[in-house]
């Protein structure tokens, strides 16, 4: 169990996969609040293409686990209208690559309604979607688009890297009165971790988790790269005696700048590891904030690890080439240590 989770909770935990953790979060929130319902393609009896909703349909029925026609714009818009009129929808967008189909409703309605109306509309909607390469799903089912939503004013965006974060962020997103995108990485659904059993456990949106403490290098890593960076950190400690601090920001917008900056003040070195494309992205935002707040604490140039501005190719040797991993994090650490 990570130091952060221990500190945060001092409570009972159980081992769950990320997939189970998300499903548990959904189940608990469906039980807790009658206004909550799930809406998306094949999330009912079928259980979701990546089996996240699983058997919730049997427990809650088709009113609360609502299968939709293949109409991302239509049902994302309907969820937006529903959220403004008294319910609390949780949308599943099957793959994040499909968000473009729904983008109009996301950017012009969901994100803007509260603001345009002078605060006179609530928008308690959650959008869960899956990102990432690694399973040979090719370019239209492997994208990492969280930068778009984190960038777009009026949306909040979270991206868990552990089972505990997956559960806590999903619950926080559903309870929030703001539109929150939860970006699940499809390669870590089977990753296990200790997850608090307390039904009131949430991971506050805007709070990072320090997953491993260290004095020498800070690695800010997201999603799949959290686990891979932790492994890299262990082997680097063994080989070089360097202690790497690994931070999962968990929330991309808002971003817990303070936790990251505090760490960089201590270590003087920063690697940002995120699967999104390198240019104009999540990495750049974190780097910019660190230089604003901790420029004079830096002892070495900041390094970025991400997808080198290609789409996700199909063939495994090609996909392996462009997909960032623990070895890329190691190479970045070696470059500046």
């Amino acid at each position: 169990m990570t130091a952060q989770v221990e500190r945060e909770l001092e409570t009972e935990t159980e081992e769950l996969t990320v997939r189970e953790a998300i499903r548990q979060a959904l189940r608990e929130e469906l039980e807790r609040d009658e206004d909550v319902f799930l809406i998306g393609e094949d999330i009912g009896e079928f259980g979701g293409v990546l089996e996240v909703t699983g058997d919730l349909y049997e427990e809650f029925g088709d009113e609360r686990i609502k299968d939709t026609p293949i109409s991302e714009a239509g049902f994302t818009g309907a969820a937006t209208g529903a959220a403004a009129t008294g319910t609390r929808p949780v949308v599943e967008l099957m793959f994040s690559d499909f968000s473009g189909v729904a983008m109009e409703q996301i950017m012009n309605q969901m994100a803007k309604m509260r603001y345009m109306f002078g605060g006179k509309a609530e928008m308690p909607v959650t959008v869960r979607t899956t990102e990432g390469g690694g399973m040979g799903a090719a370019s239209q089912h492997s994208g990492t688009v969280h930068t778009w939503m984190a960038h777009f004013p009026g949306l909040k965006a979270v991206a868990p890297g552990t089972a505990a974060a997956a559960k806590g962020l999903t619950k926080a997103a559903i309870r929030s009165n703001d539109p929150v995108f939860v970006f699940e990485n499809k390669m870590i659904y089977e990753q296990t971790g200790q997850v608090p059993t307390d039904e009131d456990y949430t991971a506050p949106i805007g709070e990072a988790a320090i997953e491993r403490e260290g004095d020498d290098v800070t690695v800010v890593a997201t999603q799949r790269l959290v686990g891979e960076s932790l492994q890299t950190a262990e082997s680097i400690a063994d080989e070089f005696g360097l202690e790497v601090e690994v931070i999962d920001p968990r929330s991309l917008y808002p971003l817990d700048t303070e936790t990251i900056v505090e760490s960089v003040r201590k270590t003087g070195r920063l690697i940002v590891a995120d699967e999104s494309p390198l240019s104009y992205g999540t990495h750049a935002e974190i780097v910019a904030r660190v230089q604003e707040e901790a420029f004079f604490s830096l002892d070495a140039p900041i390094q970025r690890v991400g997808t080198p501005d290609t789409h996700m190719p199909f063939s495994p040797p090609l996909e392996n080439e462009v997909l960032p991993d623990g070895d890329d994090v190691r190479a970045a650490i070696e470059r500046i240590s």
Partner: protein, 347 residues
């Protein structure tokens, strides 16, 4: 029932009053825009009053409407106050959206008005969502989406109709066929004879009514509303109407001629309804004059109010982005509240 049911004589006079109010509001808005007092875009509803008023006459006060970029008429028909509407057009803090929305985003969710919309075709999914909430909570309400003839070509409109039809949701789609989408005539945008024919694709009732006749619109929407409330799903009502003014103020209208406009004006929804009420002795000429005077005074009050209202403070630009404001925005708000400066890195 409705706040101005057309089945009673008082209701009919109230409907006339609302149509007059819409026309006076929009004439004034056009003038004030020309004077440079109103920023941005204004799309006027003059000529189409019977559609908004006929529709809202058939609704309960707590029913929802989703509006369009041409939304002033829908607001007044639904019962919004011209004072706060005009203040919104003027960008004042007292406006419905505290000056953040303007003409194209005027809204009052608590009054069931889910917003004008700057995106053509965005209203139908939102109204379908409101109907989803209604259905989910078993509430005795319906949702209406207004949309233009141009909007009928948008994909998300058809997604919404299919969703609403498949789920039997209590929605009414009111297509305001004013013969043009900006400068493009309806026959150059669609392959069907009547836009209501598209309802056939969803196996829902679709009908075309005279949108210059407030009672014809009200009857159609009333029936659609009963169907929706009885769990029998959506209806598409196409109302044939016409906008007298340009697409927006400043439009030079190369796409039509004066004769065409005059032909439609001969069927003016306000004149014809007034005549009918006078013929039936439900209204005297003198009462009509009084109504006119009252409406003009109300609009003058609205303009006075808007002119005297307060411009928003710059720091209010940072309000209302979220229910829970993140530090990223809060720091700008704090800076604007104190010295109006921009925040920088702290060292």
């Amino acid at each position: 029932m409705a706040n101005y049911n057309l089945e009673s004589s008082e209701g009919r006079v109230e409907a006339l009053r609302r149509m007059l109010l819409i026309r006076a509001f929009d004439e004034e808005a056009g003038d004030r825009f020309a004077d440079g007092e109103i920023p941005g875009f204004v799309h006027l509803y003059i000529g189409e009053e019977a559609v908004g008023v006929g529709t809202c006459a058939a609704l309960d006060p707590d029913d929802y409407i989703a509006s369009t970029h041409r939304g002033h008429g829908h607001c007044i028909a639904k019962g919004l106050d011209p004072k706060y509407m005009m203040a919104e057009l003027y960008g004042k803090a007292e406006g419905y959206c505290n000056g953040k929305g303007g003409s194209m985003h005027i809204a009052d969710v608590d009054a069931g008005m889910l917003g004008a919309n700057g995106i053509v075709g965005a209203g139908p999914p939102l109204a379908t969502g409101a109907a989803l909430s209604i259905d989910y909570d078993d509430r005795d309400q319906i949702a209406v989406s207004f949309l233009g003839d141009g909007a009928v070509a948008q994909g998300q409109v058809h997604e919404a109709m299919n969703l609403a039809a498949t789920w039997d949701l209590p929605v009414v789609f009111v297509v305001e066929n004013n013969q043009y989408g900006e400068g493009t005539p309806v026959e150059d945008q669609h392959n069907v004879d009547n836009l209501s024919d598209t309802a056939q694709a969803y196996d829902i009732p679709g009908l075309t009514v005279d949108g210059m006749d407030v009672t014809a619109v009200a009857e159609a929407v009333d029936e659609a509303r009963s169907r929706a409330r009885n769990g029998n799903g959506p209806t598409l009502v196409e109302a044939e109407t016409y906008r007298y003014r340009g697409h927006y103020e400043g439009d030079e209208e190369p796409y039509r001629d004066e004769a065409e406009i005059e032909r439609w004006k001969d069927r003016d929804p306000i004149d014809s309804f007034t005549e009918r009420l006078i013929d039936r002795d439900e209204l005297t000429e003198a009462e009509f004059e009084e109504l006119q005077t009252e409406v003009e005074a109300k609009i003058q009050d609205a303009v006075d109010y808007a002119q005297d209202a307060t411009p928003p403070e710059p720091h209010e630009a940072y309000d209302d982005m979220f229910g829970e404001i993140p530090p990223e925005i809060e720091r700008f708000a704090t800076a604007a509240r104190t010295d109006g400066g921009t925040p920088g890195g702290d060292r």
